[in-house]
């Protein structure tokens, strides 16, 4: 029996075949093939076939071999094709390329997703991150505008606000950054959005660095 994520994925795949930088192809013989969207149509890709092990390794380093601390950064490595037999395996693989994103997508679809403003996230921090709450609005505009931008930063669609009053996360980001229907890779494809319901730990760290002048 399919779980909620697999069911939602099945429905979503009738209308689109992209998530982040991954292209998903249904195979005539059954099953699915995933690849970097830039590599679609290439027939000399290295073939892998196990979820989650291969997905974990393929998502760990970029083309230059650097560790990828943010899986939704637009630096997924190229030259691979992951073949999976079932929807369950597909869901598992995607959950290792883009951890948690399918579950958050389901919660959003079913109106169960709560978003948390940046200021609330910062105010909650303790220990070395407590100081991050001192960030100014001007600094937020710059830090979020730079760190979360889709070209070179992160491919997620921002759903959170800056504060409880509903101020936009950053005035330096284009309106599409907040639109779940927009393809953040710039390819203008229909895709399953990578939703950001709350500022991530990496952004909290950037806020801390801005406050400390690092």
């Amino acid at each position: 029996m399919l779980n909620a994520i697999e069911r939602t994925l099945e429905v979503a795949l009738t209308g689109c075949r992209r998530i982040g930088q991954i292209a998903i192809r249904k195979l005539d013989i059954g099953g699915f093939a995933l690849s970097h969207c830039d590599d679609e149509g290439c027939d000399d890709l290295k073939v892998f076939c196990s979820a989650p092990e291969d997905a974990i390794e393929l998502s760990k380093f970029d083309d230059a071999g650097n560790y990828r601390p943010l899986k939704t950064a637009p630096n997924l490595r190229h030259d691979w094709r992951l073949e999976l037999a079932t929807l369950e395996e597909l869901s598992c693989a995607i959950d290792h390329f883009y951890p948690g994103r399918l579950a958050v997508f389901v919660a959003w679809k079913t109106s169960q997703l709560r978003t948390t403003p940046l200021r609330e996230t910062l105010d909650r921090q303790s220990g070395m991150y407590r100081v991050a709450a001192k960030i100014s609005d001007e600094q937020i505009d710059n830090v979020v505008g730079n760190f979360c931008r889709s070209d070179g930063g992160c491919l997620r669609t921002i759903l959170w606000k800056r504060n409880k009053r509903g101020t936009v996360a950053s005035t330096k980001l284009p309106r599409e950054k907040f639109d779940p229907l927009h393809d953040q890779t710039g390819h203008k494809e229909r895709c399953i959005p990578l939703l950001c319901q709350e500022p991530c730990n990496l952004l909290v760290n950037e806020c801390r660095r801005a406050v400390k002048g690092e």
Partner: protein, 290 residues
């Protein structure tokens, strides 16, 4: 009793923004437990990686998952287990009932379980198969000064337990940054054979480089991935091989001693059993209490 059909397991790890191997044991234990089909769903969440602890709140569909067992994959009871995880997961005690009716059960961290002692013994035996324990000292090495994590206390507790078995000539806890210092191992031990097991949840700079340097078995900078400068593909690959290499050159001959160096205890596949045990223990303790 864990009900397979409507229970989920959430394993919580620390993760890292610089160490590619930090989350590996947590992900591997999750994959193993998933294979055993003991829970309807098994998820992972990390403080420093994705899925985040905040994402984890949405990982399990309340319509099908009625109970979520949260097991911290941490070596000791400290700041993360006591403060960060409950806060980020919005837990208000050992048992939390969400507005959806979903119940979250906050279990003890893996490092607290008595099976850890057995795994330490197993790892010490595996790494020094030909060494007679009666002529061997066992060193359990934790960070020390990490007041947040109390790992020094946990390492001492494990050393005390293994010492009481009377199997090894000596069993000591040692630390990287406080005494007894691991760098003093030659003074701390008298036996020909010395086995060193890092008391960490995953391998990383401490086990790949810092402890080997303190032991005097590698030179500083031989394996470290320098951050924030990014390594090239070749450097990264070479480094990854080199980093595992330090565990494969046993025994190290230092003066007239033989030193056997193991990888971090948390990489043992047996931790998957401990995670399951911690979830089961939650229910057995609750039924005793109730």
């Amino acid at each position: 009793m864990i009900s397979k059909s409507n229970s989920a397991l959430l394993i919580v790890g620390h993760g890292s923004t610089v160490n590619p191997d930090s989350s590996a044991p947590t992900l591997a234990h999750a994959a193993e437990i998933r294979r055993r089909k003991l829970f309807a769903e098994v998820g992972c969440a990390f403080w420093k990686e994705e899925s985040s602890l905040r994402d984890a709140i949405f990982l399990f569909d309340p319509a099908s998952i009625r109970e979520v067992y949260v097991v911290p994959n941490f070596i000791s009871e400290g700041y993360f287990a006591q403060t960060v995880i409950p806060r980020e997961l919005e837990l208000n005690g050992r048992l939390t009932k969400r507005s959806s009716g979903q119940i979250w059960k906050y279990c003890d961290p893996v490092g607290n379980h008595s099976l850890v002692t057995k795994l330490l013994l197993k790892r010490a035996e595996e790494v020094a198969q030909d060494a007679d324990p009666a002529e061997t000292s066992l060193l359990i090495v934790a960070h020390g000064t990490d007041l947040n994590e109390n790992s020094a206390v946990a390492a001492k507790r494990e050393a005390d337990k293994i010492r009481s078995l009377g199997k090894y000539a000596a069993v000591l806890n040692a630390y990287m940054e406080e005494s007894p210092l691991v760098s003093d191992w030659q003074k701390l031990t008298r036996t020909t054979n010395v086995v060193v097991v890092p008391f960490f949840i995953s391998d990383g700079l401490h086990s790949y480089e810092d402890i080997p340097v303190l032991l005097g078995i590698t030179k500083e900078g031989s394996t470290r991935l320098r951050s924030p400068e990014r390594p090239t593909t070749r450097q990264a690959m070479t480094s990854r091989v080199a980093r595992g290499e330090v565990f494969r050159r046993n025994p190290y001959k230092v003066d007239d001693r033989s030193l056997f160096y193991a990888s971090s205890i948390g990489t043992d596949p047996g931790f998957a059993d401990i995670i399951i045990e911690q979830a089961a223990k939650f229910d057995s303790e609750s039924s005793l209490a109730g």
